[in-house]
Amino acid sequence: MSRDLSPRTKLVLYGVLLVLAIPFVFPTWWMVTSSLKPVADIFAFPPQLLPVHPQLDAYQRVFELQPFGRQYLNSLYIALVVTVGTLAVSALSGYAFARIRFRGQNVLFLVVLAGLLIPSEVTIVPLFQMFFKLGLIDTHWPLILVPILGAPSVLATFIMRQFFISLPGELEEAARVDGLGRFATFWKVALPLSRPALGAVGIFTFLHSWNLYLEPIVFLSTPEKFTLPQALTQFVDAYGGPMWNVQLAAASLTALPVLVVFVIAQKQFVEGLAHTGLKG
């Protein structure tokens, strides 16, 4: 539907788009500006779209009340390890399922695909018991091992397999004729060609790990080991009520860096997801 529009239609469309944009933009705006307000102004009426008495006290409190820097590093390193691990596991198995012929291939693929039908919420009770028996409760191991090897990486494997199937095989065949082994062919020929798919899978995986909430609150109990989503809910006063401006400051610190990276790289981001992410 890419026909030229009359100026009037254009005006109407812009109006609709602007109104629709409010619930997407306003929360972020309100989060950042409210985090800069003193508590007394938080619920001021009429609402202050810009802070009248801007201050950074809430940001200082974030680091006083929780080991927030440590929690930030926890989330970041877990998400990075999970992303790299998932890329390795899913590229290898996706490549094998797409390119290599071995006995039992179809059955094994179905065994792996079963993970798509078994959300991690279904298995959280036994996983808790398994890691409890291994003495790994209140460590980061469950948050690293399960996403890399368990159900969350199955979707990544599926996407990689679909991508390798769609990739012309001539280059790899030429490399094989030249005497390259399977791993060398995969590493030197196929993997460099699969950058778009790896990018999409990497973004998905990072965000998935960065957003995990049920798993951290089930597995972790020491504030020094918490991840960010878990830490964000800890800024409450003695009566359990949220300390709004401190919570919003912590939320801003969590959300803004990823948002900035996204806005800078949005083209690769969105198009990567759309074109390689979920086609198939």
Partner: protein, 316 residues
């Protein structure tokens, strides 16, 4: 992990000589071995972290398990009869159903609308695309906390509504409005993902089809329903499966915004499972609820996959 093994297994293949001294060890067999080594981490992971827990969850559901008392007794189907008699089961299934249906309908409708708007010949659609997609990358709990703040009785939403003369309710304290709030917060968070997938699919529809329809005098509405929707139906099916399964996994939003309340009006199945297993330490009953969740996911996925035949016009 067996990462290094794989490297060795795959890379050690020497330049293939015409004949080897041991005909059994052919290059075909070596390639098979490479295949097994390549899939080994994923396969072992699936067995250990997906299928073994699934077997265990069935086993646990047949036991009365009190962690605090340290008892683990076989009780057969008792947990299942307890589930059938649980007065909370009805409200929990109702909340789960309401949330899923509300989320899927609202999410897919808004995603389609946004994709159609962004597919017009307009300057600046990239900016709007970025805006609509941006909540996808915002941390889920951060997004939920901000909305929890906005939806307070004296919060930003009611402040905005007041400026246009509308007196908003205390969103998170009323049964209906709490459910509506949880759904809407989740839709705005993730609708950008479906929007982008729809947009990519729409851009793949050949322009000649619209030109031909134009010549035949078909209205825009008619073109949308007769050309766009049928041609992107594989994408609609895929996104609806993902959205339905995702809607059954909602947890953080409930935990942060409503804690399942007021009453049990927003206690969806995963939240109830979490309460039973990890707050009340009823692991056996929690396992039984896990089986129920698994059954629902399985049934819905099979159902949608079956609908594909009747519903999807064009298989890509």
């Amino acid at each position: 992990m067996s990462q290094t093994d794989i490297r060795v297994g795959g890379a050690q293949a020497p330049p293939t000589p015409g004949h080897t001294s041991r005909p059994w060890w052919t290059s075909r067999r070596r390639d098979q071995l490479a295949g097994y080594l390549f899939i080994a981490p994923q396969l072992l992971g699936s067995l250990l972290f997906v299928l073994l827990p699934l077997v265990l969850v069935v086993w646990y559901s047949l036991h009365e398990w009190n962690v605090l008392a340290g008892t683990f007794d076989f009780v057969g189907a008792d947990n299942y009869t307890a589930l059938a008699d649980d007065p909370n089961l009805g409200p929990v299934l109702r909340a789960t159903g309401l949330f899923s249906v509300g989320l899927v309908v609202f999410n897919l409708a808004l995603a389609l609308l946004l994709a159609v708007l962004l597919n017009q010949k307009l300057r600046g659609t990239t900016v709007f695309r970025t805006i609509f997609f941006s909540p996808v990358v915002v941390s889920l709990v951060a997004w939920t906390i901000v909305w929890g703040f906005l939806l307070q009785d004296n919060g930003g939403v009611n402040g905005l509504l007041d400026t246009i003369g509308v007196d908003g309710p205390n969103w998170l304290r009323g049964e209906g409005s709490a459910m509506l709030s949880v759904i809407v917060v989740q839709v705005f968070k993730n609708v950008g993902l479906n929007m982008v997938l729809f947009l990519a699919a729409m851009q793949g529809v050949p322009a000649e089809l619209y030109e031909a329809a134009e010549v035949d005098g078909a209205s825009r509405m008619r073109q949308f329903w007769r050309i766009t929707v049928p041609l992107i139906s594989p994408t609609i099916l895929l996104t609806s499966i993902i959205t339905v399964v995702g809607s059954l996994q909602v947890f953080a939003q409930i935990a942060v915004l409503t804690q399942g309340g007021p009453g049990t009006s927003t206690t969806v199945l995963v939240y109830y499972l979490y309460q039973q297993a990890f707050q009340f330490h009823h692991f056996g009953y929690g396992a039984t609820l896990s089986i129920l969740l698994f059954g629902i996911v399985l049934a819905l996925t099979v159902l949608q996959w079956q609908m594909r035949k009747r519903w999807v016009f064009h298989e890509s």
